[in-house]
Symmetry: C2
Subunit: 199 residues, 2 copies
């Protein structure tokens, strides 16, 4: 509907996740009217990310160095590894400031429907990291959904016989949530995992 | 939270309209994992739009030429001008295939709260276009909200005394809508503008 360059931009923006045709149009017009320096900064940021960001050779997290910030940090405990699906999960856990160990990013979860099996994830790299005996504890922090559960079960079956302490993040009611709005699976898990209060 | 380039990209994406912090993060990770050629196409589209797209010297619509596609088209009637707020309104009206005249894009609407007065809109350019007497009809197609109404009233007061046929788009029930869900102002307008059915 628009002339060449505007329509091209709307088409390209519309390919981004979560950007529908209306948003793409809105962003395109914003870009059209924007200060050229602002658009240049966005273009540079896109180019820089593709040019400079790679994956950490140890844990698979995003990084601008061969090793990521967490793997480079000597204050982080090398005895505990928290296994996650994606780099954004690392950021979510870092925000809690609860965890002082290292990470391992699988790059997804086992999903037979999407054709993702254990060999498509960075599981071999995880086993290599466990070989020298430094790591004694593995926390499985997959998403609390079918694919995440399947992946955690698969890994637990492999890791428990190796004599490691293996745990899974607790499921239950979200803090600040409302019991009556919790879905039945979550509420069921909250019952299952109830904790005794001692006097 | 992320290292340099990734965080920079999230920040820049978050400045786009309708893109919140979560969407910005999602898009950034999509870009990270995307084929470099796809990202290059987005970067090129952004650069091209800023380099090549300007505003039509006649009507103010977006264009890659000094004059836009509608103004260049000799089959479009030069006697009717449809005045709109933004270039995207031109696209919306073109989609209806109902209008075969020319456009005039004001670049916004009168909005005293946002500090936009008549002088900030392309109203002088409109008056210049009306001077040679070719145009006999002006359709005011502003948004049906307070700012749009104010702008239409302002223009009508100026244009009617010039002997032009001036009209405003009809307000009423949206086609395919449900009467019971129409807000009272729209329903009121639908009554006000009711059309007699002759036998």
């Amino acid at each position: 509907m628009y002339e060449g360059a505007v329509q091209d931009l709307i088409d390209e923006l519309g390919r981004l996740p979560g950007v529908g045709p209306k948003s793409a149009q809105r962003i395109a017009f914003h870009v059209l009217a924007a200060d050229p320096a602002d658009v240049r900064r966005l273009v540079d940021a896109l180019t820089e990310v593709k040019a400079r960001v790679r994956f950490c050779e140890v844990c698979g997290n995003v990084s601008q160095e061969p090793q990521c910030r967490v793997c480079r940090d000597p204050r982080r405990s090398p005895t505990t590894i928290c296994v996650v699906e994606e780099p954004k999960d690392v950021v979510a856990i870092e925000r809690t400031r609860e965890f002082r160990g290292k990470y391992h990013v699988l790059g997804g979860a086992i999903n037979p429907i999407a054709g993702i099996g254990p060999d498509d994830l960075r599981i071999k790299d995880l086993l290599t990291r466990l070989q020298d005996g430094t790591v004694t504890e593995v926390i499985l922090a997959m998403d609390p959904n079918v694919e995440g559960e399947a992946t955690a079960t698969y890994l637990a079956r492999m890791l428990v016989p190796m004599g490691l302490t293996v745990s899974r993040l607790a499921s239950g009611l979200p803090v600040g949530g409302d019991l009556e709005y919790a879905d039945e699976v979550t509420l069921g898990r909250a019952f299952e995992g109830r904790r005794r209060i001692s006097a």
